[in-house]
Symmetry: C2
Subunit: 340 residues, 2 copies
Amino acid sequence: MNIGEIAKRAGVSRSTVSYALSGKRHVSPETKARIQQVIDELDYRPNAAARALKEGRTRTIGLVIPPPVRRLTYMQLEFVASVLEAASQADLDVLLSPSGDTHAPAFSRLIDGRRVDGVILMEIRLQDPRVDQLRKAGMPFVTIGHTAHPEGVWWVDVDYQGLVGRCVKHLADLGHRDVALINRSAEMLADGYGPGLRAQQGFAQAVAQYGLTGFEYPCADDAPAGDACVERILNEHPEVTAAVTVNESALPGFQRALQRAGLRVPADFSLIGVAAQHWAEEFQPPLTSADVPAVQMGAEAVQLLTEYIADRAAAPKHLLLSPPISLRDSVSRARTLERD
Amino acid sequence: MNIGEIAKRAGVSRSTVSYALSGKRHVSPETKARIQQVIDELDYRPNAAARALKEGRTRTIGLVIPPPVRRLTYMQLEFVASVLEAASQADLDVLLSPSGDTHAPAFSRLIDGRRVDGVILMEIRLQDPRVDQLRKAGMPFVTIGHTAHPEGVWWVDVDYQGLVGRCVKHLADLGHRDVALINRSAEMLADGYGPGLRAQQGFAQAVAQYGLTGFEYPCADDAPAGDACVERILNEHPEVTAAVTVNESALPGFQRALQRAGLRVPADFSLIGVAAQHWAEEFQPPLTSADVPAVQMGAEAVQLLTEYIADRAAAPKHLLLSPPISLRDSVSRARTLERD
DNA sequence: CCGATTTGGCGAATCGGTTCGACAGACGAT
DNA sequence: ATCGTCTGTCGAACCGATTCGCCAAATCGG
């Protein structure tokens, strides 16, 4: 069931079938109808490989996700979902590829084997070898997150630095003087993970600017780590009355540790952060947070990538999003002030 | 940078390059070395589309996931991750495709456009039109889950019916007389969702067999629904001392509702279920459960699919897994017995 | 009524690989 | 010296689409 078979049954040439399908040249309505009928009968659809070979494009994009996949955070899952959705809208297929040392062959296949027209890269590091490889191969790509030197690169990101700064300001305005930052894991920071390092900077700057005392705590991406982290904070710095977090996966652990310590949120301890809306609302009480617009970001990434693919000479574009802080129920005035 | 270019620079014909790469015919060591050197210099990799066209296979499998993707349960995410991992091991790429009405064109592209060599289908219904479509198109596929009439189909599944039955038996052995089943949502059951309906059957059978009184509660896949569901159970049937759950996404909600009601697990209320190990361990206290071996299932699905692709005439195989119940801390003897 | 233009469709080349058959040269056996 | 075998390589066909150039018939204007 190839185009030749269709042509034979419709009594026309292969090229006519092709033109009838693509509309790139005029075909008489009668002929077109006859061809369409045969196609419907046989459930014919052009062979993707043949088309890709001739056209030089695959109508497929690669989505490179961080391993181990099983540990995908909810936010990352939202990216994947929204990229998938946006790609589907644009009639693009998505080839999902884990990155990392053991998957290097797969990555090279993707790039050098021209399996995809472009790539969306998630979880990039400040220095990221994959960016260099893509650049060298001349493969269009958009990163979610941005490297230390993103000039000439297309990217979409959330302004972690600014957002964490605004969270600190929010706490300062409410009278908190001693605050903690619960960051991502120490390994990720050492590995040059952008959002973590930018959160660090934003926190340090804002703490200095508003004259607060700040303590930074790295924390692995799971509930037990969150539990342990909050316990450490409470032990080591009992004067801390509020925390800013960029670690949504650890949130359930915070709840447990605070509860065990007999601290109520927000009466005794305020919590604010940057997180996916889902996690923020799941928290008890609902977390005041800057909701990362993951869905929008995924869609924008696909949009940018299609633009890039369509015009490889176009000037690089990027998008730095800074969503507003949604006021929920996890932040209150500092205890010390309430005693006045 | 195509095979012709490599051939020219190495001073051989295109076919020799091809044979040097594939090893399907003997090529002298010197020639092979010369070719390899040119390839390394240019980072050459065969164009996937051209190869797919000639070979008639794409070295790609499709993974069809349920929409809305954003609501993937942890277990489903584990399937995706393990399929990805296993495919990567087998040098296969994975095309991720959401299913559902709005994505029908993408699904047809996958199947009729021969974009993939085979398909893995997740979340299938007892009656599933996608199964029929795949069958009609002659596309090899493996389902995770099985339809009402799985004869002639390749599949991998967990024995929900048997597992739920064993959970009930476990509770009966410990003296519980009135037990609840917290199932998946009413919509999913109405829609013919296999695991939910099989859990229902297993529960009903076991309850009858051991002479217990059973109450079935459907529950949506999220924490608030779980909270509300447990509250209803406690209100409507205060005599219930234990529940079996197959709804891992609702678990955090159970915790909250039980806590609010002042019931301790397992002293006052026992909980047992079928869930991903991750969720079972995240629960407070760790949940006694039959851990769904999602990672194994994903790997097995890929394995079966490659066998099927390699020999389309092979007799269908399937795998019905029945993991043991891991005893953790959420089940105890019934209260009434403890008073003896 | 004749040349120019438009309409509708055809044939062949092409994309970049794989693979089959052929073939030249080296070598061993008789 | 001759024949057969084996080695290593080449040339050409092919996979299934798209697209360019071309041409026959129909239509139009003066």
